[in-house]
Point group: none
């Protein structure tokens, strides 16, 4: 599961990480409300763990914004201190789906997250766009002008990163790291994959979307 942890207490965050990451969950962290909100709306998560007390924006406000303004339906689990029991009702009112009282067992957290995701997992449906090109992160389908494109895994990863950065040039190295992590290949394999992606995306269309910026990288944009 992809989980966002919004928690300013480093110890708690680490505790959670130590327990959940070995189990194969992917975690992202935010130490304050603003960062948390930003991550929550720009990326896709299966669940969000939200501390009630945060620097910047407090948890309840964040949750409310998420639901009312950003229309993000990702399940939210709130962390509250024992003496904030009364705030919980507000939490539910703001759109939280569950909560946990500190101190809590990480195991319990995991169980609850599972339950949440199982129950409400429908949310998602994030789609990236650029011109008449779109890419659905859930179905992993890419379309151009409504027509399905046939992409292989590496092409999909390339497209994902490029679409998340349509506003700027993405360097070769960024692309390489996005695909291979730190184990970069020792030859210039990327060239071939860009070639393939370009074919898939632009071959049959007049307006080209994938542009090369010599010496800098690539950029995906209409016009």
């Amino acid at each position: 599961m992809r989980i966002l942890i919004v928690e300013d207490n480093r110890d708690i965050a680490e505790n959670i990480a130590d327990f959940l990451e070995p189990k194969g969950h992917e975690l992202d962290f935010a130490a304050d409300g603003v960062t948390g909100l930003h991550l929550a709306v720009t990326r896709r998560f299966d669940a969000i763990v939200l501390d009630l007390n945060l620097p910047g924006i407090d948890g309840i406000t964040l949750c409310r914004k998420l639901r009312r303004e950003a229309h993000v339906a990702t399940p939210v689990l709130m962390l509250t201190a024992r003496d904030q029991l009364d705030d919980k009702l507000d939490g539910f009112e703001a759109g939280a789906d569950d909560y946990l009282v500190k101190p809590f067992s990480v195991k319990e957290l995991e169980v609850r997250l599972h339950a949440l995701v199982k129950r409400g997992g429908v949310a998602g449906n994030r789609v990236l766009h650029a011109g008449d090109l779109e890419y659905n992160l859930d179905t992993l389908q890419a379309k151009r002008a409504g027509k399905l494109l046939d992409l292989n895994p590496i092409q999909r990863k390339l497209l994902e990163l490029l679409l998340q950065n349509t506003h700027r040039v993405v360097s070769r190295e960024e692309l390489e790291r996005h695909i291979w992590g730190d184990a970069l290949p020792d030859r210039d394999v990327l060239r071939t994959h860009i070639y393939g992606l370009r074919h898939a995306i632009d071959r049959n269309y007049d307006t080209k979307l994938l542009h090369t910026v010599h010496g800098a990288g690539y950029r995906l944009h209409a016009a």
Copy 2:
């Protein structure tokens, strides 16, 4: 709210009563599983509080019977001891909607009950669909084009997760964790089970529903 408390510990039951009854809730009590089950099916409640350890029938069994046999959809909140954390997963699997670890604050119990009822015992949707394929979570029967399919337990779990995510690609790892939890098998057993499920679902039909997304996972969808 009308609430059924199934709890053999008299002290705990009294505690709950002392807190909730003055607030205007109507409580019924059962001190063992059989009585609890009987009350749960013969009367109407807004929520049921269920101890995991009960004389007669244990909580999980009771819950499962309630959902699978008696088709009662009333929200269930389970009470577990700290060291029964592992049972919780079973609890959710059996159809519980929430749980609380003993010792707990009665106030917290009330908050959770409120949340559960508000959510409307949403659990609802006990039948999952995709195209002309359907799977009933209560009876555990799967049908394609109205015809019963013969599935084994692992195939059912696969189908369940895939149907809960008809819109998106489900990774091999997600599927594996759904079936085996953290004790993943060290060989690629999943392959064989997917093969089996595919046979059961698609073999005799023209439109295939179970699709492989190479390098990413599987996806169940019509068309």
